[in-house]
Amino acid sequence: MALLQIAEPGLSAAPHQHRLAVGIDLGTTNSLVATVKSGSATVLPDEHGRSLLPSVVRYAEQGDVVVGYAAQAEQSRDPNNTIVSVKRFMGRGLADIQDVGRSPYRFVDAPGMVQLLTRAGAKSTVEVSADILRTLRSRAEDSLGGELVGAVITVPAYFDDAQRQATKDAARLAGLNVLRLLNEPTAAAIAYGLDNGAEGTYVVYDLGGGTFDVSVLALSRGVFEVLSTSGDSSLGGDDFDHRIYCWILEQADLHGLNAHDTRLLLTRAREAKEALTEHADTRITALLSDGLTVDLLLTQAIFHDISKTLIDKTLLPVRKALRDAKIGAADVKGVVMVGGATRMPHVQKAVGQYFGQTPLTNLDPDKVVALGAAIQANVLAGNKGEDEWLLLDVIPLSLGIETMGGLTEKIIPRNSTIPVARAQEFTTFKDGQTAMSVHILQGERELVSDCRSLAKFVLRGIPPMVAGAARIRVTYQVDADGLLSVTAREQTSGVEASIEVKPSYGLSDDDISRMLTDSLAHVQDDIAARKLREAIVDAEGLIAATTAALAADGDLLAADERSQLDDAIAGLHSAIATQTTREVNAATQRLSQATEEFAARRMDRNIQQALKGKHIGNL
């Protein structure tokens, strides 16, 4: 379809410059970074040619932060300071973490999200993830030879708002401009669909290291429409390792292992699982710290037996997703397998049996998510490919509000296409009530205590009235990243309160800028100069874009509206001349606000022209 071109800030100066953007798969076990080079998506390897970066961070003796294979190699020796599978704890409080004893970490129940005590101090999961992302960022910048315009970061589709927000915060902390948070199965569908010209209803079965997602998508003429999604944000390949680990303990009659031995046996368990993908049996040997030797033979048959319930557990969300999409297993044209754990032959067999067809495994299950994210990043950064395509994603879990009696009232149901907004009116229940507490929840259950609490805020200043007279309109808005913001407004008085849902688990903007400043080696002057430079680049971009828009669609404005815009442009020019960051930003803000109505009219015109084009096309 023909899209009207709108100039982008900074693009006018060098229109043919390729803007460096990457897709990042921040995985539980491994992470990857990919980009689009000369039209095709490719994973960027490290200096040894390895694509994967183990998601392992070690806080070493001299204050060094070691990430990846080198950290992984030390995990048995230094288990307390070597963090693996941190994604499992993203956006979670201590109370959320099942079986704390299973991990060798020393958890600190900080207000908000859980922290891990290391020799470098207490580290939040956001900080640990940021260390992984920082490594991928420098890998990309070294390999591409320049600073990144931005990144698309993937998250499990079943991640709730708190987990998404924590991921976005981690990326910002790593100095990345987040173009979009993209659901992992959707990313896989992009990579798969664009490669295969797929049309019809597809299921993406994504069993990663620590999370399980299933998405049902309708693919047609360049539109990727997610119909439903479901999953389990704490189920993955790690759990298969753990089943083997428990089997080892049972067979060897081991009790009360220390952190080192626990980590060693978990590593042996993972190796055994991988070996069983190719072999009928495998030998597990380990020398424990007390000198005891473990030597066991694990067969495929035993492994299948001890892990069968885990596979069954994945088929429940599959059934749920099909129900929500209102289709049956027979309506599915193809099942795309994603995630390293789908390499296990008995997983493929069970999925094949459920759908009555052989699952599609022709793309590397470890890389497909990063490749899809890279393709999306390339488009979002403004390097338009030849094909136009559109992604319509959904929220995985219903968003609600606490009402009287500890019950949850749903405001936005799960599987709503995003962006989405919904408003609901509430009233006071006591005479003279002047404040109202808004408790934001996510989940499907009726009781507040069974849902995830995202945030609480209070609307104050409601004029005293009799019970039931006030009209408080609460609006939930979910953006294209799947992130929620909430506004409450008393209709008769106009009193308003709003919150960008930075749940009890997130970091505040202040926290992030403090951490960013802490981590910057720049002196103060450098930062100030950089800020002015950035402000001017933004301002010039805005002027260029507005001028181009006026040239194209100036007829949409009345004469006085036009002169207001011209004044705002002139004002910004003079602000730039002052070379003062604050003035430039203020004038940019003014021009930006002045253009809002104009931008709205242009977009409406685009819609109408596109619809008309469609009708002519249909004749």
């Binding site: 559109l390 809002e596 015109r605 619809l611």
Partner: protein, 177 residues
Amino acid sequence: MSTDFTQDHFALFNLPRRFAIDTAQLDSAWRTAAAEVHPDRYVSGQDAEKRVALMRATRVNEAYQTLKSPVARARYLLQLAGVDTAEETNTSMPAAFLMAQMEWREAIADARAAANVDQLEALSQQLRGDVKGLEAELGSALDEQADHAAAALAVRKLRFLEKLDQEIGDAIEALLY
């Protein structure tokens, strides 16, 4: 010439304002409009454009969700005609309908007690037949007879059936998960 965004959902998608609509045309118009205003198109655009795109995309999705669901579409048509469907307040229903509701509830409770998922699926199928019948009634009440009272009653009935379907769904989920 600019488009007034206070226009109704039908005008937004260039569809006739009536109950019977071409769903393929609705799908296609939604995708076309969504492609124009999706925030993905404005990631590197100006802030004003980003804000507007979020609002417009939200609006386009809301219009689509409203028109896609027959009961929401009927409720919306009645609202445009100034008729309140009074789903929360008007609880007087024909006796025969209420009787049928009780029978449905019993059938669901029995299947649930027997942990019979297949039976629940069958009930869900059967319910879909009833829903189709009421939707046909809505079509003729709204598009042919302009009988708003009959249409509002059909919307209230469909609301009951929606709740039944939800109960069946909850029962299936409770048994499966």
